[in-house]
């Protein structure tokens, strides 16, 4: 591999990171207040479908991204309402939202576009080189000559890190996921924080979905998300529910994805089916040690009832 190939490979990895990072930061955000979202795959599908349709009909990718953000937020709101207000089982509601997202994504596309032989296309997101930074050899080209959602992902990750670990608001937020009763007794509004993080998390997942048609395919297909939503959950555990480690861990997930595609194109002695399995097998393997070492928020997946005397 020469210099140009290496640069190209690194660039593709950064490009492939985005949906993982966004969906995973969204999962982390909700998880930090105890809401375990398992509807990523469905929300990303809806985000891809709505994002594509809005972009196609309005002729503006930005409108598409905003629409996907909105619909992702609505899913997050639904999750928060059913689990935090009605205190229903988080996994069951998450699965139900996953089903609805799955069905809705195809349904909306069929209603808006109908069945066509030639799929409608949106232009892919253009690269915007950042003046100055893009001139740095290698790193400049890899990191700072990308589309704006890549930069958005950098900024979101850095912002979340700052928010969680450098502000008192972040401390309150983390406290809710660790011990909501204690946080509540100190005057932290547990319900509000749970709603907020679930909605913001859903928004990030919606954007992660919209990214796929706008960068890879130019259109929506039923299999577009291809398990990335589920892998994002894995990444969240792998990254120890921390924005910084999630960002770094995504390098691995994206690297395996790009590598598997690469080897497929070049051709190898290994059957292509094995290469297709690679991301999933690699994920399970890296999770083995990660799960032993990592501590998830103590109240992950549990609802908080402030009128109850004891919390299990």
């Amino acid at each position: 591999m020469d210099q140009a190939q290496l640069t190209n490979f690194a660039k593709l990895v950064i490009l492939a990171m985005v949906p993982y990072v966004l969906a995973s930061q969204g999962t982390m955000l909700g998880g930090r207040t105890g809401i375990f979202n398992v509807a990523q795959e469905g929300i990303m599908l809806v985000g891809a479908s709505v994002g594509f349709l809005a972009a196609y009909l309005s002729n503006s990718l930005l409108v598409g991204v905003l629409a996907a953000t909105l619909v992702g937020g609505v899913f997050g709101l639904a999750l928060a309402y059913f689990t935090t207000t009605l205190r229903m089982n988080q996994f069951v509601i998450g699965l139900a939202l996953f089903f609805i997202g799955l069905a809705l994504s195809t349904l909306l596309f069929k209603f808006a576009i109908g069945v066509t032989l030639r799929p409608p296309l949106v232009p892919t997101l253009p690269n915007i080189a950042i003046p100055g930074l893009a001139q740095i050899p290698f790193l400049g080209e890899v990191l700072f000559d990308q589309n704006w959602l890549v930069y958005f992902t950098f900024i979101v990750s850095a912002f979340l890190y700052y928010l969680l670990y450098q502000t008192s608001f972040g401390l309150e937020l983390r406290a809710v996921g660790e011990n909501p009763k204690a946080a509540d007794s100190l005057g932290v509004n547990v319900t509000l924080l749970r709603y907020g993080t679930a909605i913001a998390g859903g928004m990030l997942m919606g954007i992660a979905g919209a990214y796929l048609p706008m960068v890879y395919t130019g259109t929506f297909t039923e299999g577009i998300v291809q398990g990335r939503g589920w892998l994002a959950i894995a990444l969240t555990f792998f990254g120890g529910w921390r924005p910084d480690f999630i960002f770094l861990g995504a390098l691995f997930f994206a690297g395996v994805e790009v590598l598997a595609l690469r080897v497929q194109v070049i051709g190898s002695v290994v059957p292509y089916q094995i290469l297709l399995m690679l991301p999933y097998i690699a994920t399970i393997l890296v999770m083995m040690p990660a799960f032993k070492g990592v501590r998830a928020p103590a109240f992950l997946g549990q609802n908080y009832d402030r009128e109850k005397r004891t919390q299990v």
């Binding site: 195809t106 349904l107 059957p271 999933y280």
Partner: protein, 352 residues
């Protein structure tokens, strides 16, 4: 964490009847509301709502063929739902029924093709056994990862689904490819591996009886035996169960393996009964429907077959609606998801 299982409290006939009515009422309301919501959408899209309703609900009963189609859908749905509810009783979420089904189908196809010459009495049991074992293996991997590394089973079961898709492709393309088929498909299994037919035209295979027997066995296991009771107790409160000496972690393991066996069998029955070969994409969306069925039944294994039959009716109606009225079949999926949501909501409001 766990869903509440409905207890079988023995009581007089009148109170028993009232109990059942009380439980059925929310279901009825859920179905009606879901249909009203979806009727509004269909109407707004400019389709004929009443014809759509009629197609969804009555296609199964209008012809012999429709009814057989419903029964054929019912079989994998029932087993998939049980593959979800058995681990659910222990508080574990098996989202890997799809992969386990495909592994079962792979096992059945491999045995059925390699030993194609064996007579029915030997080959058919071998084919079905292979499917159960392959499914069990695919359930045992997440079970082991949970036992050994405390790895979240939702995650691992889903990831294994994706691995199984590639395995099916490998078997159907590289190992036993049928060159005549355009789509990745294996050559047929031996005639001795085919499930005997109950009715020949339209063909209805005896997997139906097998599935019902298995469902009865599962119901007896979870609701009438002490081993099943330990499972339910574990799901209800793992910590308390542990205090009483129930090997909680081993039960988690066992429940996921049983789930794998049930899903694997559904794959074996599809191969031995319906397709007589392994076909890529044969898993359809049985996994999602199985989960919906299990959740609508609230994990009650007595209710699962009835819910599964109802969903089978909707599914057959959905494809008829798509064919004749050109309304996308996903519409019915929304109906099913709404029914689930309303059934769950009814619980919340009952508690208040």
């Amino acid at each position: 964490m766990a869903l509440e299982l409905t207890p079988d409290a023995p009581s007089g006939a009148a109170t028993r009847f009232k109990q059942i009515a009380d439980q059925l009422l929310p279901y009825l309301i859920a179905v009606v509301v879901a249909f009203i919501v979806i009727g509004l959408v269909i109407g707004l899209m400019g389709f004929d709502v009443l014809t759509a309703y009629r197609t969804i609900l009555f296609t199964s009963f209008k012809s012999k063929n429709g009814f057989v189609q419903t029964l054929l859908k019912f079989v994998p749905l029932l087993l998939q739902a049980l593959a979800f509810t058995v681990p659910l009783a222990a508080g574990k979420f098996n989202i890997g029924g799809e992969g386990q089904m495909l592994m079962g189908a792979i096992g059945a196809a491999i045995v059925g093709i390699i030993f194609a010459d064996l007579p029915l009495l030997i080959l058919l049991p071998l084919v079905l056994l292979a499917s159960v074992l392959f499914g069990a293996l695919w359930g045992a991997i997440p079970a082991w990862l949970l036992y050994q590394f405390n790895m979240n089973e939702i995650l691992t079961t889903v990831l294994l689904n994706f691995i199984s898709f590639s395995l099916v492709d490998y078997v159907a393309v590289e190992l036993f490819r049928d060159p005549a088929a355009g789509h990745p498909t294996t050559v047929p299994i031996g005639a001795g591996g085919e499930l005997p037919l109950l009715i020949s035209s339209p063909p209805l295979h005896s997997g139906l009886i097998l599935a019902i027997l298995v469902a009865a066995a599962v119901y007896i296991y979870t609701n009438k035996t002490s081993a099943g009771y330990e499972l339910v107790v574990t799901g209800a409160n793992p910590r308390a169960a542990g205090v009483f000496g129930i090997p909680v972690r081993r039960l988690f393991f066992a429940s996921l393996v049983i789930g794998g066996m049930l899903a694997g069998l559904s794959g074996g029955i599809e191969v031995a009964g319906s397709h007589h070969r392994l076909i890529e994409g044969m898993q359809s969306n049985y996994l999602l429907l199985g989960i919906i069925i299990g959740l609508i039944a609230k994990g009650n294994n007595l209710a699962v077959p009835f819910v599964a039959f109802f969903i089978a009716i909707l599914e057959v109606g959905a494809s008829a609606m798509q064919r004749t009225l050109l309304i996308p079949g996903e519409m019915v999926f929304i109906v099913e998801a709404l029914i689930l949501l309303f059934v769950l909501l009814s619980d919340v409001f009952k508690k208040r």
